[in-house]
């Protein structure tokens, strides 16, 4: 977008955001659900703009987890005793909530892992090492997070698959026509982000999936930045695998989610062996559970799953469309404010963008920007965002990144802009 378009979009979004805040979405009320937000940092009110890295937790999630530990915690899928049964019911209820939230066909399509990164590694192992062979091609985009690059490189080094990379243009749009050119009968898997964590670009993932399927390739989507910010529908998208990070959706750390089409998951061998994933074990032979338990060896993150269930309830009650509209208003406002700063360059101005603003300044390194705005109470991410290839693409080693969440406000954007003004004063 050029400046005039951004300004026009910003005023339109401002009108929309105004409507939303007075009707469906009351950000002041929402903020009261997040205990951490009321504190001061370095004597200034906390302005938390590092939601792309991890989001804060509402009271509802904290209480659900405390309540589990205080009243019914026990191991799941084990004992016949009361607490184990209750914990199992709550753990499985969380799985069901996620299935409904993502519009999966069944809760059997929801696998709990240790992290989103582990979910991708699970697919690279259990699917990649079973169904891919030397010379098969995997298509990634230039803006993947390291978690959606390195597992495929390990697979490449192991079995000799070939990685092909879809470039992005100067504004951060995925070059779709280049994707179409890369697709060929050797393409067996497309592993692509839904929203770039470094640029905010929203990838047209539905079209990506459709064309991949036309070639007979499977698709894994890294939805870590998408699930917190927009409505995501597995049946509408048709992805074969879709992963997300619960801690970015206002839930706990220590757990990840892998959605996989049920019939596909059941063709995949286990990738870790242990308790809970077996039907029978003898020293001669073991037989395995179906998905999802086949992929959940060992005691899972029980209370974290329950906390995630509470987080899903929380965002569902607010409404993903309301959250998306609120954040879109913030994106346009922040883009307008920061674009006006002399010597500041926004990296990533894709046509379709989530509420992430990555930027560099002529006068100061991102790390120095981060330190200075921190003293104004503002938490932003500085660095390469675990996405070094896309940093290289724009000729920078790092950026400063403000990423917004459902509790972010325009006043917080103003505090960030003022703090950036101070960076200029100091370094300019």
């Amino acid at each position: 977008m050029n400046t005039a378009q951004i300004a026009a979009a910003a005023s339109a979004a401002a009108a929309r955001a105004g409507d939303n805040s007075s009707l469906a979405f009351d950000v002041d009320r929402v903020r009261q659900d997040f205990p951490i937000l009321s504190q001061e940092v370095h004597g200034k009110p906390l302005v938390y703009l590092d939601n792309g890295a991890s989001a804060q937790k509402p009271r509802q999630v904290i209480d659900a987890m405390s309540n589990a530990y205080e009243t019914y915690y026990a191991n799941v899928h084990r004992g016949v005793h009361f607490l184990s049964q209750r914990s199992t019911e709550e753990y499985e209820a969380a799985r069901k909530k996620i299935a409904t939230f993502l519009n999966a066909r069944s809760e059997n399509e929801i696998v709990f892992t240790g992290s989103a990164t582990e979910a991708i590694n699970l697919v690279a192992h259990a699917y990649g090492r079973t169904f891919l062979k030397e010379g098969d091609e995997i298509i990634l985009s230039h803006m993947e997070h390291h978690a959606n690059i390195v597992p495929w490189q390990l697979l490449r080094d192991d079995i000799g698959v070939v990685l092909r990379i879809v470039p992005v243009d100067e504004d951060g749009n995925l070059m779709f026509e280049e994707y179409e050119k890369l697709l060929n009968p050797k393409t067996k898997l497309v592993a692509m982000t839904h929203i770039s964590n470094a640029l905010g670009t929203i990838v047209p993932i539905g079209d990506i999936i459709r064309l991949a399927h036309d070639q007979g390739a499977k698709v894994l989507v890294d939805g870590c930045q998408a699930v917190p910010h927009m409505d995501v529908d597995m049946q509408a998208l048709g992805a074969d695998f879709y992963v997300f990070a619960p801690h970015k959706v206002y839930g706990p750390t220590g757990i990840g989610v892998l959605y996989g089409r049920e019939e596909l998951l059941n063709t995949m061998p286990p990738w870790q062996g242990g308790g809970d994933m077996i039907v029978n074990v003898s020293f001669e032979k073991s037989t395995f559970q179906k998905a999802p338990l086949r992929f959940e060896a060992g005691t899972p993150a029980i209370v974290e799953a329950i906390g995630l269930g509470a987080a899903i309830d929380y965002v569902s009650t607010l409404g993903m469309e309301n959250i998306a509209a609120h954040e879109e208003g913030l994106l346009h406002y922040a883009t307008e404010k920061l674009s006006a700063v002399d010597g500041l360059r926004i990296i990533g101005q894709a046509r379709e963008k989530a509420a992430i603003v990555s930027f560099v300044m002529e006068c100061a390194h991102p790390h120095d920007i981060g330190t200075i705005v921190d003293r104004a109470g503002v938490a932003i991410r500085t660095g390469h965002h675990c996405a070094e290839p896309i940093m290289d693409r724009y000729g920078v080693s790092a950026t400063a990144r403000a990423s917004f969440g459902l509790y972010s406000t325009r006043e917080e954007v103003d505090v960030l802009a003022d703090a950036i003004g101070f960076v200029r004063e100091m370094f300019g």
Partner: protein
């Protein structure tokens, strides 16, 4: 807010950050090492020239980084030139101790000449910013690696 930041980003540091001294790749040198700070993507190369007595006859660097890491590298090249390797290593330990707030160890600094000490103390402000200690010490770790024959180090 301002006092801490002004102490960290003193004029001298901002100047070295913007106009680093000895920022070049010498035509010849005895040792080189690459220093990476993976958390922020910073990378420096340090070039050392040593004579037969293990005295540093020239030291230069190239790379990219934040104001603190570039200024620290720049100031380091100025202070260690002319020192023996042994003395430069002792200075590294003292400087590191100063940055991490280890006052006993940083007293070793006092055994160095006043100008060197005064210059390095400019960076003592990082003690208030624990996340930035790696920035201030990156060049020194890299020099240490070059002296000890490592070609690449990481501060993670």
């Amino acid at each position: 807010m301002l006092d801490d930041l002004r102490e960290l980003y003193q004029e001298v540091i901002l100047d070295h950050g913007k106009n680093p001294r000895n920022f070049r790749r010498p035509e010849s040198f005895s040792r080189e090492a690459v220093g990476n700070n993976p958390m922020c993507g910073d990378a420096l190369v340090i070039y050392l020239s040593l004579d037969d007595d293990q005295t540093i006859t020239d030291v230069a660097f190239q790379g990219k980084g934040c104001a603190i890491s570039v200024a620290s590298a720049s100031m380091m090249t100025e202070v260690v030139k002319g020192m023996t390797v042994e003395k430069a290593e002792a200075l590294f330990k003292a400087f590191h101790a100063m940055c991490t707030g280890d006052d006993d160890a940083s007293q070793i600094l006092d055994s160095f000449d006043e100008e060197t000490v005064e210059r390095l103390r400019m960076l003592a402000g990082v003690r208030q910013f624990p996340m930035r200690v790696k920035c201030a010490t990156l060049a020194w770790h890299t020099m240490d690696a070059a002296v000890n024959g490592s070609h690449e180090i990481s501060t993670e």
